[in-house]
Point group: C2
Chain length 402, copies 2
Amino acid sequence: MTSPTGRPAALPLAHADLSALLHAIARQPRCTRAYLTRLTGLSRGTVATRIEELIAAGLVVEEAGASKGGRPPGELRLNGAAGVILGADLGSSHCRVSASDLAGVPLASASYDLRIADGPAAVLGGLDEAFQGLLSSAGKRPSEVRAIGIGVPGPVEHRTGTVVRPPIMPGWDGFAIPEFFADRYGVPTLVDNDANLAALGEYWARKEDSEHILYVKISTGIGCGIVSGGALHRGAQGAAGDIGHIRVPGGEDLLCSCGNMGCLEAVAGGDALARRLRAQGVAEARTSRDVTRLAAEGNPFARRAVREASESIGRVLATLVSFYNPNAIVVGGPFAELNEELLAGIRSAIYHRALPLATRSLRVESSSRAETVGVRGAEVLALQQALSPEGLQQLLTARVGS
Amino acid sequence: MTSPTGRPAALPLAHADLSALLHAIARQPRCTRAYLTRLTGLSRGTVATRIEELIAAGLVVEEAGASKGGRPPGELRLNGAAGVILGADLGSSHCRVSASDLAGVPLASASYDLRIADGPAAVLGGLDEAFQGLLSSAGKRPSEVRAIGIGVPGPVEHRTGTVVRPPIMPGWDGFAIPEFFADRYGVPTLVDNDANLAALGEYWARKEDSEHILYVKISTGIGCGIVSGGALHRGAQGAAGDIGHIRVPGGEDLLCSCGNMGCLEAVAGGDALARRLRAQGVAEARTSRDVTRLAAEGNPFARRAVREASESIGRVLATLVSFYNPNAIVVGGPFAELNEELLAGIRSAIYHRALPLATRSLRVESSSRAETVGVRGAEVLALQQALSPEGLQQLLTARVGS
């Protein structure tokens, strides 16, 4: 393998170094060699050599930065022309897709309705068409795709991308999604659940000092995506973040869909709130979206229910703050639209109960990019794979071949 | 720099690769090139080249493995002769120190009494003497030390090794421990709190598939060390694992040392139990060790108190299992000696409350190496630093120089 300059790129010898540098460049706007030296602990000379190799291989480009007197430091970014990343966020009734270049610049995006219950063949066939549409409108070829990330509304065995006993995805149990796309693109396809990908998307959109993020999705059920030190924490069986079935006080007589009594979801999930409102005579409360709408319209029963739910959720989050000490908790899902109502209750419980040190600079906020954070997280998952030591081999081969 | 074979070692160009390989070799008994290829995703050729470089640099040695017919695969380990790691576990009244070679083989260990309240000058002076004694009895020179790890019974700002407002370490607030040793050895000194180091020691003693560990220390206070994916999770302010101040049901009228009502520590910590026993007429219950001894002797009030405490702790841990999905929870501290009593209550609460998937292969056990796991964790922290891309530079320089 030779680089465009003709000299041997010698890249396979140092993939872990290169991978670390590429990740840092991808995450840091206006990235300089001095920053990379500080961040990685590599010597200045090593960083300089490696960056030259990455530029020669066409994966990194350099621009003159703003001068503060003297020679301006070169600003580094990934070379957008080096490939395309595809992302998808599959919901129960809706899908959002997007294509970005390797530098993270959006090329095209779309969204469309679907029924996840139609099963993998129909849904993934439709998704593939949507991907083709994005590529076509961005003027890119399928051979330029470097990795694909897909979020689904159910549990996933991440290593194989297999959907595992999903409550709201009939027909998907045991289906390995990456195999569907393997023949079509021949690139890595990464699959994860929607809360994990939203957590990753929120992490990526934040600054360097936000390494520990909890994304709490409040909908029919309640789940949580966990980022630790910039990477998803999935746990021993991939079950981490399943906070909907934590026991909470005051729910002792409430039966949860899991068969236990008093789970957070049975007290504060969307279905539970809708059921409680109907019992109070609010017949139109059928789903969590109805509850959201009623509360937004000022229905006092709905507002009261949301307020009580937010306190229960906040009490659980206070425990998790003491244990995990995150930089930020981001609340998403349909209830997150009730910004003030919901966050007030959650914040109140957390600040009342967690230790001052852990809440000193804790941010508790609703997702400012609720619609797109999932698909962005899917792209980030795919990009991280493409820039990993393993993925880098394929990236370099493809780069030389294309 | 040239290797013992005379050819340029060329090591500085690929520290991250080398660091990843050294970590894997350190952690995996009977490590083979095939294993490293699978683990790192590097190509077979790259692994072979890198291993030759590490052998040439004197950091790795190879032995013939057991033959299964055909040529036996070479088994790799770190070269013990390449350096010494020092570890210390400072308690409030006791210290344990140990020296190991780079391959993890123990060279010497000792323990002695101290009073942490005597302050940094006296305590660290004594510790330095203890280190000198270890080196002398192991026949090693101070110049062979590559890194030092130290555990303390209080909060630490890990980045600088500074003790921060420690409740039981008067005179230590704001003291930066690494500076004390910088002149004496000129090597990195890493400092962390005792629960974190015990978690790291437990992680290191376990097999490759135990990447997520909680170490729960139950003593006067209650704290937790967290390992995520093989690395300590310290959180945004280094406050992660502070589970003693999580609110628990049934403690509403109990004042905690932190000033709040109903913290886990106020319900189930050693001081709380001793106070409760005294209120029940058991005048000899003054400390958590008294409670442990009384319960072990069969005092029914003490046994009842320990049983109730274990259920409160178990309820909190059930929440953390649902959130974090660890491979194992290890219980340490003086109460851990009450193996059966304590673990029965904790296990019962966890299995009753956490989801089946998260408890399917969860191990809940007392530390089988309670006395030494802290100092072992201190050595692991120091070793990880020595093998990091940053530390590796120093290791190679020292190796060539020694």
